[in-house]
Amino acid sequence: MERKNAAAAELQNVEFEYEKGEPVLRDISLRAEKGEWIAVVGESGCGKSTLVRLLNALLRPRSGTVSVFGEELTERNAPLMRARIGMVFQNPDNQFIGETVEEDIAFGLEGLCLDLAEMERRIERYAHRLKIEALLGRHPGELSGGQKQRCAVAACLAMEPEIVVFDEATSMQDERSRRELLEVMRDMKRQGSYTVFSVTHDAAEMLAADRIWALKGGFVRADRTPDAFFADEELLGDCGIELPFGLRLERRLSALGAAASDGGAAETGAKQAGEGGYGRVRHRQT
């Protein structure tokens, strides 16, 4: 039933509207391969969150089809397919259910009807992977924002989904937690067993992805690699994205000829700028 080389997710001519006559998504056709990391970007209100909610049938398209692992999502198979898709939201407070972190992770596992030994094994494994062993007995209210978000990711991954959707999961985090979470996402990428969608406004997160889907006014504005995406300034403007400071400086410098000149000093300077921060992120991914 499931085709071998099927896309992890595929949207064909998808239209969606919350209210009649106000389309949010128009004629969307996109395809994500297994193991890919896709960053979904665009200005607020452009339909990013709507798009990822179509992938696990939280929302249904008005027309067109959404397929996951080669199977078209229908009312009938939606519950089964949802088990293969995990979601992590912006505000972790909105998805905590348990009295302790451990209970919270177990809640999702109970839903999968796993036996006790398997539940314990998974809790241990994912708590270890996200470095939250010490937090298992704590009430979610005692945790910092970053810790909460790591626990939310652990609860999601413990269900061993094949697709994981991060809906602005880093946006409410402070700088340090944001980096930590990004590192967790990179780890998932390295393992290769996940297809990741991340809805984001964060340039570092976009640069770490394999591909960027940009939406504008409900249409697909671009579907490119991060390098091609960040090279197109008009496109960036359309999507409400500004270059991170380091990249902006690098570009200004080469425009001024300071980085491009063959003078030894200038060249090492440009190289240093390239190796710093965002440049590093980019190189590591390629």
Binding site: Y18, E19, G42, E43, S44, G45, S49, Q90, N91, S144, G145, G146, E168, S171, M172, D174, E175, R176, S177, R179, H201, A203, G237, C239, G240, I241, E242, P244, F245, G246, R248, L249, R252, L253, A255, L256, G257, A258, S261, G263, A265, A266, T268, G269, Q272, A273, G276, G277
Partner: protein
């Protein structure tokens, strides 16, 4: 995305403060116009020293459940003074006391030690809960998840709630609602929508617009830019900078991205474990960049890049921190050229060659309105207060230019 027209409308809206002025006492009016006066004459850069202090904390402490068995101190001996019309950035890690500080300033909490003065109200430990309606009318507060304080059934009603509550007529409240929405870059078609049908980013902007609509003298915003896209973030900060520079409003903004506010903020406060461990401007912050990590604050990109370049080209260290990427690129280009020339002529002691005038000229063309910096000698470029201040005055304007073209 954001048209220039919207900015124009915002400029015009500064006229509507007449109504507020009528409610106020004569002396307050004089203060307010003094605040605005300083903006009108940006050349007099040292007038900042004469501006009235609107917020003053003296050895302020705050302990949660003071005296009880679970007492935990949130603030220790915080001293700070904020003058009218300044944009203050407040940074700090999780649990550093940033949010407690904002609640003290709004009179939501009383200090448990020291004193807190905000405008003409002084809050002291143990005093009877004072009547603060008059104070709160002049202070706008936006919490960390501002979308959670949307409660009406249309966006317009939500935006009108503050103005109506403070006694403005309906038409005026409506006008302010529309203006506030436009200044957040949202279209009028949203006015009749239910707030819960908006996207996350739109909700957040509406919530901040509701604070703007009430037209407070002092605005306190707790991470207003989280979850906004980067262009919207820059737009919001440019708007805040304008409210400070043009209307003399005082703004305190908590952020965990120092980077985004570094260009616009006049002053910084870094909180760590309940203490204000740093107070000063961006240059002073740059000097202590290596301490930031210890305070649980990420080093902003500007400081990281600048530190990298000053390590390579030591003559840059004498310059004030350039606030924008354009500016920083020009300074670096000048220094690189200077270094090349001195290398060629074998004169190592002359870091800045005549070539430096090229980029400076370019800067003038870019229309930043900034006086060209002297570029003959490193010694003539100390932390030139006047240049830096003049720079600060034009930052708001430059922010607009950048946004309008994006």
């Amino acid at each position: 995305m954001f048209g220039i027209g919207r900015h124009k409308r915002q400029f015009e809206s500064s006229g509507d403060r007449g109504i507020e002025d009528r409610d106020r006492s004569g002396s307050e009016q004089a203060e307010a116009s003094a605040g605005r006066g300083t903006f009108e004459a940006p050349g007099q850069t040292d007038s900042a020293a004469e501006r009235e202090i609107v917020i003053e904390l003296t050895d302020a402490d705050y302990t949660y459940q003071a005296g009880g068995p679970f007492a935990s101190a949130a603030l220790h001996g915080v001293n700070m003074r904020v003058r009218r019309g300044t944009l203050v950035g407040i940074a700090g890690g999780t649990g550093s006391g940033k949010s407690t500080l904002l609640q003290l300033l709004n009179g939501l909490l009383l200090p448990t030690g020291g004193s807190v003065r905000v405008l003409d109200h002084t809050l002291l430990p143990g005093m009877k809960k004072p009547k603060l309606n008059a104070l709160r009318r002049r202070i706008g507060l936006s919490f960390q998840f501002p979308e959670q304080h949307l409660f009406e059934d249309t966006v317009e009603k939500d935006l009108m709630f503050g103005p109506l509550n403070f006694g403005l007529p309906k038409e005026e409240a409506q006008r302010r609602a529309a203006e506030a929405l436009a200044s957040m870059g949202l279209g009028e078609e949203l006015l009749l929508r239910h707030p819960l049908t908006l996207s996350g980013g739109q909700m957040r902007r509406v919530a901040i617009a509701s604070v703007l609509a009430a037209g407070p003298e002092i605005m306190m915003l707790d991470e207003p830019t989280a979850t906004l896209d980067s262009a919207a973030r820059r737009e919001l900060i440019a708007l805040l900078a304008r409210l400070c520079r043009e209307e003399g409003r005082t703004i305190l903004m908590v952020t965990h991205r120092i980077e985004e506010l570094l260009e616009a903020a006049d002053e910084w406060i870094v909180m760590h474990e309940g203490r204000a461990v740093f107070r000063g401007d961006a240059d002073e912050l740059a000097d202590r960049a290596d301490e930031l990590a210890g305070w649980g604050v990420a080093v902003p990109e500007q400081l990281r890049c600048w530190a990298e370049w000053t390590a390579r080209l030591p003559q840059l260290a004498a310059l004030p921190l350039p606030r924008t990427a354009d500016d920083m690129a020009l300074r670096i280009a000048e220094a690189v050229r200077g270094a090349e020339i001195s290398a060629r002529s074998g004169n190592v002691r002359k870091p800045f060659g005549g070539a430096g005038s090229g980029p400076t000229h370019l800067l003038g063309e870019a229309g930043s309105g900034r006086p060209p910096a002297p570029s003959d000698k490193a010694e003539s470029l100390p932390r030139a207060e006047s240049v830096r201040r003049a720079e600060a005055e034009t930052i708001g304007e430059r922010g607009i230019n950048v946004c309008a073209t994006s």
